[in-house]
């Protein structure tokens, strides 16, 4: 290999290297298992929301597809997991999780053709419409889904036949965290691959992307399918950890809150959804304890502030923080700044 070739390989490999920030993030995430034993309920919700937001980031942050109906995938897989368990079709939770995720991915594949064309506005409406239709279908076939009463009588078997979902939610949380981490690893791998790079290119400039031979539509279909699958896994996790599923898995609020979570955390860098979920759930929990009835006022307030300050700046702060941690960790010379560490100026 030539010198220049090695140089290029080094630089490209550096993009995908785990930064100290990332390692710290995940160490902390797993440490919560021991740090907050009384908080498993909210931690589980946060992990599920984080995975759900991560799935939206894949299409919004990387491929530029905006959606107001991501709950369609969440809900479909939620009910799938519930029905699989209730009718004892698949008892083992991990297998049921996979099947539910695949069902949501299949829905993603089918509906991807609806979002290929059109502006952001048409995409918002189409995705919203799909979620509304599915929600209403679940309502209509209440003999199956339990309708407005929700899906009753679901009992989830132990994971791998060994780990039961205990009443404190310990195993449930560990399960969600592990699944979140695995999905994150897959997503991370994906965004640093040629496929992920091509997504970013077609988000930035679809005209040029097709002018260098990238089949734009096929890539959009692929990522929409994957994103649907991830959202579905999140939905199935909710059903499995609560042993319950109700119509609100399809609700408009769920899709809209998700967009909010992702915008709070920042789009297009994978951690946005996770950080957004932590902030959102923390705010919700903290503010609700102060003013139980009016907590959404403060969520709304925080949202307005964040959008006015500019979410690029929020990303910039975290990037600057990451860069300084990196420098502390490395203390190397001129070349040590990680790619993308420079705040995106405006």
């Amino acid at each position: 290999m030539t010198e220049a070739g090695k140089d290029v390989a080094t630089y490209l490999a550096r993009r995908a290297r785990w930064s100290p920030f990332e390692i710290a993030f995940w160490v902390l995430a797993f440490a919560t298992i021991w740090l907050f034993p009384g908080k498993y309920l909210i931690l589980t919700e946060t992990a599920i929301l984080g995975l759900f937001a991560l799935s939206l980031d894949l299409i919004l942050g990387y491929a530029g597809i905006i959606s107001l109906g991501h709950a369609a995938f969440f809900g479909l897989a939620g009910y799938t997991a519930g029905l699989l368990a209730k009718y004892e079709l698949i008892n083992e939770p991990v297998l049921a999780l996979l099947v539910s995720g695949l069902a949501a991915a299949a829905l993603g594949f089918v509906t991807s053709f609806l979002v290929l064309r059109g502006s952001d506005l048409t995409r918002l409406m189409v995705t919203l419409g799909v979620a509304l239709m599915l929600g209403e279908l679940a309502n209509r076939f209440s003999n199956f889904t339990g309708g407005a009463d929700g899906l009753q009588g679901v009992s989830i078997a132990p994971i791998f036949g060994v780990f039961r979902f205990d009443m404190f939610g310990h195993n449930g949380y560990v399960y969600c965290l592990v699944i979140l981490f695995i999905c994150f690893l897959i997503a991370r791998r994906m965004v640093y691959s040629p496929f992920g790079l091509s997504l970013r290119s077609l988000k930035g400039n679809p005209l040029r992307a097709s002018a260098i031979g990238i089949p734009v539509n096929r890539r959009l279909i692929a990522i929409y399918t994957v994103s649907g699958g991830f959202a579905g896994i999140a939905g199935a996790l909710l059903t499995q950890t609560t042993a319950f599923c109700s119509l609100d898995v399809f609700s408009f609020e769920r899709s809209a809150d998700l967009l909010l979570v992702l915008i709070i955390g920042g789009t297009g860098y994978l951690y946005g959804g996770l950080i957004g979920a932590v902030i959102y759930k923390f705010l919700q929990d903290w503010i609700a304890s102060l003013t139980p009835q009016y907590w959404q006022f403060w969520i709304g307030f925080a949202l307005v502030v964040i959008v006015l300050i500019g979410r690029e700046r929020v990303e910039g702060w975290s990037a600057a923080a990451r860069a300084s941690i990196y420098r502390l960790g490395k203390g190397l010379g001129a070349r040590s700044a990680p790619d993308g560490a420079a705040p995106k100026g405006h």
Binding site: V8, A16, M190, P194, S198, G204, A211, I214
Partner: protein
């Protein structure tokens, strides 16, 4: 056999005939320029060649096969790449990522979602070669958005070149480049490998006459003349067209 050929190419937009019976024939390895005054329909011809537009009539033939019905990305795979008059770059990516993207795509790794970009030596070697050829080494890891215009212009060509085209269409490559960066750009264009056929669409007559070995003149959507630089320079009709334009302008 010509590498790129059009036969009776025609494009109508409603009642307007933007391209009128254009039959071009470009030899392999040629440095062919397509010139013409503003509004002559040069951009329409480019769009017809690359598949952005479908012709109303006529054919486009690349290396002997009819590509008239193919979509833009399919034509790229068969060996035709273009640059744009106004930069069409990926502003959030670095030159390294940009070229890596195109090379990965061409070598068929574009839908590989598991291996990292740059983990294949065939890819990195080629990226390095292209980065060097287009004098982008110093700035290869900076975001494209912050690069000087001349470097962006070089990247614009490098990106098309990374598709390893048999035919490279350069749409006004020097447009808007400040004098200080112009020499570097022209030198790079001059050093393109001889086996790559270049079709240059250009306004700048200095560049055309110093670079091209064959010139086609387009006027009002139709082909006025096709010849060597000397023939074109001597032709009174060409003078009339350009003088007319200069007097008007």
């Amino acid at each position: 056999m010509p590498i790129l050929q059009t036969i009776g190419l025609e494009k109508r937009f409603g009642g307007i005939l933007a391209t009128n019976d254009v039959s071009l024939s470009i030899e392999k390895g040629a440095r062919h320029a397509l010139i013409g005054p503003n509004g002559a329909g040069k951009t329409t011809v480019i769009n017809l060649l690359t598949g952005v537009l479908r012709p109303t009539a006529g054919k486009v033939i690349l290396a002997g096969s009819d590509i008239t019905a193919l979509r833009p990305h399919q034509r790229v795979r068969l060996g035709m790449a273009r640059t744009f008059q106004i930069n069409q770059l990926f502003l959030d990516l670095t030159p390294l990522e940009t070229i890596g993207l195109a090379v990965s795509e061409r070598l068929g790794h574009g839908s590989d979602w598991w291996r990292l970009v740059g983990s294949r030596s065939e890819v990195t070697e080629e990226i390095a070669e292209i980065i060097e050829r287009f004098r982008l080494t110093d700035i290869m890891h900076q975001r494209t958005a912050v690069l000087p215009y001349g470097k962006q212009r070089l990247l614009e060509i490098a990106l098309a070149f990374a598709c390893r085209p048999q035919v490279l269409l350069l749409d006004e490559p020097a447009a808007g480049v400040p004098d200080a960066e112009r020499q570097e750009l022209l030198a790079t264009i001059g050093e393109l490998p001889a086996d790559v056929t270049v079709l240059l669409i250009e306004h700048d007559m200095d560049l055309v006459f110093s670079f091209a070995d064959r010139i086609s003149v387009l006027v009002n959507g139709g082909l006025l003349l096709d010849g060597t630089p000397d023939e074109v320079a001597r032709d009174p009709r060409v003078k009339a067209v350009y003088l007319g334009e200069e007097l008007d302008g």
